[in-house]
Amino acid sequence: MKYKDYYAALGVPRTAAADDIKKAYRKLAQKHHPDVNKEAGAEEKFKEIAEAYQTLKDPEKRAAYDQLGTSYQPGQEFRPPPDWEQQFRERAAAGNGAESFSFDDLDLGDLFESLRGHARGGGRTRGNMQFPGETYEATVHLSLEDANRGTQMDLQIGDRKITARIPKGATDGMRLRLRGQGGKGHNGGPDGDLYLNVALHPHSLFRPTGHDLYLDLPLTPWEAALGATVEVPTLDGAVNLKVPPNTTAGRKLRLARKGLAKPSGGEGDLYAIVQIVNPTVLNERERELFKELGEQSKFDPRAHFARS
């Protein structure tokens, strides 16, 4: 078993009063809680702090922890005192009917967690009681294509590998619940649920909002002015889109039901946003034609400047 310095985790001296331990925990927990702090490593840090507090806030557990003294370094292998082993063996036998166990496989935090069960006498009754499996929660990153047609994903949650089936209809920021795909129930209790938070990978062409998709549609100045039928990509393959004459930049052209599949049936829409793109290099003839257009046209896109 590896030694952990719970006092260092909370940044308090070994002589700290219970109230100071609570204050230190509250301050650190506010800072590092993974629901508040989205930085990488915050979750690990919070787990360390929470584990330290779970042990040090309980006078019985703190006294047991203090027996380890100050001679170990964090991460150093150590052998727990013999009376710990005795306590744990009694609890394990009463609670789970387990006859043998090894301290080598245990984490210090798990050990203190189990001592709590012993102190409350919970181990004896919990042994035969039905209780539901643990609720799991995970974030899944899907491609637009997978969200649109549904997919299966292998998730690693703790030490369990779960194959989660995600039906079509998910989109960015959506949550879903997969009943019974969480932790296994105990003694015939129901299996826990799995909650998934969906995040979509950025796509090179389509930008999702809800179940609608947005696509930039580059047009030449003459396609926009004269109208055209152009081929545009969708998640189901290319389709022809009719661009009306006198189309301006920024106009949204809607392709109904070409967005993402919705869970309850139907699809969102696809919006093609018009961009007007000039050639970067003009040949002689093109230059002449543009010049002639410029001479002939009375169009002034900046007419409103004069009014203001």
Partner: protein
Amino acid sequence: MTDDVVFFESHTQVTLVEVSRSSGLPEDLLHELVEYGALTVGEGGVVSAACVGRVREAARLREDLELDTASVALVLRFLERIEELEARVRYLRAQAKS
């Protein structure tokens, strides 16, 4: 198998019993949160399933940060506001030229 998967959309409705089961928060606390205005209950005592994720997150914060009910209510309101703003950002990003 489809019945076993629920998408939490804004128009999906769940009972407070289900919210309690999914979040681990006791029902009487959920009723208090309704009184604080942090949860909106419709006819038949149902709430929008969109709140389930927020209630689960608030329940974790309550447990880990030892929050009282008023603070949990405040957290729920802020989480709802964050979700609205995130949806708004997604909408504006989708409109903007990439």
